[in-house]
Symmetry: C2
Subunit: 451 residues, 2 copies
């Protein structure tokens, strides 16, 4: 028969089993961490009506979208989880309780030009809190706690949550009479990390057409750095000149004030006035998170406060605050950087039961006891030589092999072989279950990310 080459599309991540185990571990931790903060899981369709998905319309996204006809329907694959959330909240408004806190971990689709480390199908892991009409600043203060908890549970410690407030930026530009050019300025300032203050100043003068002293003002403002108390005290110097600025400063003070009560160490948090994020969407606190030893990766968790989640679908004002982790990209980068732990067990099972006799009943019964004891157990049924069986155990990287030969069966016992140390012990199947489960829990107690 003529064969079709079994290829996977480029830009689509398809992991080997042991990598997939690490990915599953990361997802489990995200679910757990998001749940601890009272976010409820949602699952919206991958396909939506194109009209719904593109209600906002235009922009770069529209070119990348997977859009197609099926029968009479104009359909599209979701390109993020925010638009489906907006649709969900607008559609189910009457059934929901506000503040509505949901998380969603799901695949989204963007037909970008394929290139290394860029994906066309990728997971986003989002949380959002949506208010009905209004939403207290405390929700914005809580977000760094969610990020901190999630990342430390994953095993990351060398990261910094960079926080700013769009009202401070807007207020600052207003008090300097630069409101009209605020967008352009922010896009230029965004390049500070990459090209440095001198080049940014040049651009502000030559491209944005600012007067030199005004561009100096901007750079002075952006250069305010230090610990939170210091930055806030410097910002106080600007108080009283613009109402929006003052409101933003108050919000930033509140967000910073509760850090300790939220259990977020100061070293993982920094007020950073250069952070702006999506220009026409966010209206208050904005967040970026960088791995301090890998700044080249860029932000691994970003988001912010917005005033109008679902304005394309409803007249209700639905303000919210949310963050998103680009999980597929994060996994890819961590894997590339060899930052994923090789310690945790990535075998399909914790114990491989090898029957050594013709009659396999006792081996089956032993496997059942192990499973009842919570041990992930494979029963090896193939009739092959011992060497081939042990070779399989080696290849899948199983931590324990459980052998049942005639002696073991006669004694109602099993032999448990530790595949790392090579040690072998005889015990009752129930004991083997407890022994293996305990050892496996210890090995799995380490984090999935190792810095």
């Amino acid at each position: 028969m003529a064969k079709v080459a079994p290829r996977t599309l480029s830009g689509f991540m398809e992991l080997a089993p042991r990598d997939q185990m690490k990915m599953e571990r990361m997802m489990a931790i995200l679910r757990e961490s998001y749940s601890l903060f009272g976010f409820t899981p949602l699952d919206t369709p991958v396909i939506e009506s194109a009209e719904v998905l593109l209600a906002k319309g235009g922009g770069e996204t529209e070119k990348q979208i997977y859009r197609f006809q099926k029968g009479d329907s104009d359909l599209a694959l979701r390109f993020d989880l925010t638009v489906p959330l907006a649709k969900y909240v607008a559609a189910h408004y009457a059934e929901l309780s506000f503040p509505f806190k949901r998380y969603q971990i799901g695949k989204v689709y963007r037909g970008e030009r394929a290139q290394r480390g860029r994906f066309r199908e990728f997971y986003q892991a989002d949380i959002d809190v949506i208010g009905d009409g209004k939403l207290d600043i405390l929700n914005e203060a809580e977000i760094p706690a969610v990020i901190y908890n999630t990342f430390t549970r994953l095993g990351l410690h060398k990261f910094k949550i960079r926080v700013n407030n769009r009202k401070i930026l807007n207020g600052f530009y207003a008090m300097n009479g630069m409101s009209e050019k605020a967008g352009e300025i922010m896009r230029t300032v965004d390049k500070l990390d990459k090209i440095g203050p001198l080049k940014v100043k040049e651009l502000l003068i030559n491209e944005v057409k600012m007067l030199p002293d005004k561009s100096e003002n901007v750079l002075d403002f952006m250069a305010i750095q230090g610990d939170n108390a210091y930055v806030l005290s410097r910002l106080e110097d600007y108080r009283g000149m613009d109402e929006t600025f003052d409101q933003g400063l108050d919000e930033l003070i509140t967000v910073t004030k509760y850090l300790k009560d939220f259990g977020v160490p100061e070293e993982n948090f920094a007020i950073d006035l250069t952070i702006a994020r999506g220009l026409d969407y966010y209206t208050g606190t904005v967040y970026e998170t960088i791995m301090t030893e890998h700044p080249e990766i860029g932000s691994v968790c970003s988001g912010g406060r917005y005033d109008n989640l679902a304005e394309y679908y409803t007249d209700k004002q639905l303000p919210g605050v949310g963050i998103s982790i680009g999980l597929t990209r994060l996994f890819y980068v961590l894997n590339e950087q060899k930052l994923l732990s090789e310690e945790i067990i990535t075998a399909p099972c914790d114990a491989l039961v090898l029957p050594m006799t013709e009659e396999v009943g006792p081996a089956v019964a032993a496997a059942t006891v192990l499973r009842q004891g919570g041990v992930r157990t494979q029963l090896y049924g193939e009739k092959r030589k011992f060497k081939a069986k042990i070779g399989y155990a080696d290849k899948i990287g199983v931590p324990y092999v459980v052998l049942l030969g005639e002696d073991e069966i006669a004694a109602g016992e099993v032999s448990v072989k530790d595949m790392q140390s090579g040690e072998q012990q005889r015990m009752k199947p129930e004991e083997a279950a407890a022994f293996i489960r305990e050892s496996v829990e210890k090995r799995n107690s380490g984090a999935v990310i190792r810095e």
Copy 2:
């Protein structure tokens, strides 16, 4: 602004938060149960090249498929998880160890005519064991144990795993000289449950054009019913007449023999000679699972043994055995039948922390302690009247409210209100964490399905 109606496409399940929690619970149990049997999780793309996905070609499926162009690429959404598995195993053959045991829980797409209880996007939850060249019958014997474990963990007890062997059927038709008509006969016999033996006999004679005595033979054979020992003894009467039959009988004996060692009670298992399953794919043991008090639902978990997983992609012979649960449909039916437990907690959190003072620091700190103690905690930050706050607690169905007024703060304590009993107690935040976690574990220890 003109609004777009926020609608979800018909045939696409989108659950309310509390239903979604039940669905998540079911998925978590499936993952856990499949893992216990040594299946490793896989995640393949939703989009594949149409050429790859339709390698087998033709048939009903092709009409239902979501297929579209993106740039020069002819793409399609997966319509099951078996074809992507075949592709995966063929593509990654060299990296895999055989037997290769994988599970996958993922969405698949079929553009069926929309109708109540039929979905165009739905979850399948599959397991498969793939051998390289050959695969021992013990793997077929293990499948009922996986089904039994999975269903009992979900809370189902009144179900029966119906098992047959295609070799027995093929052998039986061969020994009766009916091999040519075997397909047609099986399709007709498949209607036994619905139309009864008399109507089936009529069809066999009038439509399949069988002689009356031959159709009688078929019905006699299909009527063999009773406990496993009885059915097997009746099948022994046919031994020696056809090699394939004898082989199938031996396999069925093996599958039945180890049931007890696998921990599967006889009442949940029945040899059923009327089961045939997919006609041109399965070659050995076949499985169907029915809920005994809801036979109208049909099979909720089906599958079988096949000889050639990936023949369209590779010359390697890759036999396997697998089963699939149509999770979305199962969830839908259970929900409709009110079989999903209302006991387990479906609120977004276990504790809702309500600050009762202007200064919210102590409430924030208490929420942090609860979370560190493993309690899913929402911090209510909105500045509203007490009645509105408690109303929110009621509406989300949270089991515990944790209050921090001036008295509690002064004493370094919190008040924990049990929302079911109305009882309220003062304690330290750490004690509250332990108290709530324990009570929540108890409430959640029940099964998600209640028969």
